[in-house]
């Protein structure tokens, strides 16, 4: 009689899929996209080949699910990091370093692998493109909010975009070796320049809340 439902099926499925997706992301970072074979994933996840194929019938299904999983991780990572930002005077530099760190983290590396692979894999592209676009838009929105940028000012929007493309480029540079020191120097300088550019003719800048900086030496 005791032998009724020990572990409900929903729970089992969730755990199994989670383990597989985590292993997939880990392997993307460790071995790259082409090195992430389904056999390796099942081994790494401690899941039998049969079970894996049950939950994800094809490699594409697995990878697409991994893309979605990764997108969620990236989103929550960013929000968490944003919430932990100090409110002090060096707000801009803190925001930039937070972004720079994110785009140099393993999650970005995994995303980069998928990104590059998707370029020559139509099926993957179909899954990656919309999600990446979403992440891009959200990151933009978040950055605008964190920096208190008035996007109605001409050029402001482009400067935010440039900032994000810059950290993407820095993230790319970071994949071939630790680039932290260089990144810090560059972002510190960019923070000064960006502030100057955005404060140039403040018009109705809502950032009245934010303390204005006349930092320049």
């Amino acid at each position: 009689m005791s032998a009724t439902a020990r572990v409900p099926q929903g729970e089992r499925t969730r755990a199994m899929r989670a383990r597989l997706l985590e292993a997939t992301v880990d392997l993307l970072v460790e071995k790259g996209f082409s090195g992430t074979s389904t056999t390796l994933v099942s081994e790494r996840a401690g899941v039998s080949r049969g079970a894996q194929l049950h939950h994800f019938p094809t490699k594409n299904a697995l990878v697409v699910a991994a893309v979605e999983h990764l997108t969620e991780i990236r989103g929550s990572d960013l929000e968490r990091a944003a919430a932990a930002l100090p409110d002090g005077e060096d707000r801009t530099v803190a925001v930039l370093e937070m972004l720079g760190d994110h785009f140099s983290s393993p999650v970005f590396t995994a995303a980069l692998e998928l990104w590059v692979a998707a370029r020559t894999d139509p099926a993957l592209l179909e899954a990656v493109a919309p999600l990446e676009q979403r992440v891009g838009r959200e990151t933009h929105r978040l950055t605008v909010e964190l920096l208190g940028v008035d996007e109605s000012r001409p050029g402001a929007r482009e400067l935010v975009q440039a900032t994000l493309d810059l950290v993407r480029g820095l993230g790319l540079a970071n994949t071939l070796g630790d680039d932290t020191r260089r990144r810090r120097r560059i972002l510190a300088q960019w923070a000064v320049t960006l502030d100057a550019a955005l404060d140039a003719a403040p018009a109705t800048k809502k950032a009245a809340a934010t303390k204005k900086k006349e930092t320049t030496s």
Copy 2:
């Protein structure tokens, strides 16, 4: 005696290797790194498998040679594009667009594939890292020269680096679809900001030659 050297061996070797390397680079762009199999390369190059293995005994040898080949192409491409730059007043924007175009071109795409693959392939990394570093330094030098930047001024060097990392990021964004319009807008704004930042306190700026801009509205 007339039947001496019809086609000298050196010539044949050079032509054969060139065909193989070109095919390799083409396939990197078309199919990505993992899609670039040695069989495909030999087919594409119109070279027998035996001949291929004669010139490049292993895939690694082929790819490493392709990296070097690509590095040369990138170098000469950049120099050629630099030489073709107009001398007019919008020098900065022209330089930035030239860089942006280069980092959005097929050669960059091929380099990106190698770059990403090298991250998880020690043998490849050994070949890619030093060459990429060289290209990076040369690009930096070229940019400094084209923009007439005085690197002795604090922050100037970092702004140039930021510019290059930005175009790298823009190049990355361009791989998932044509991004030309957005890139132009961003670079136009970046040019304004960069000029303002570099001209801020001109000290002994040698760019006395370059016309000064008080563009800001």
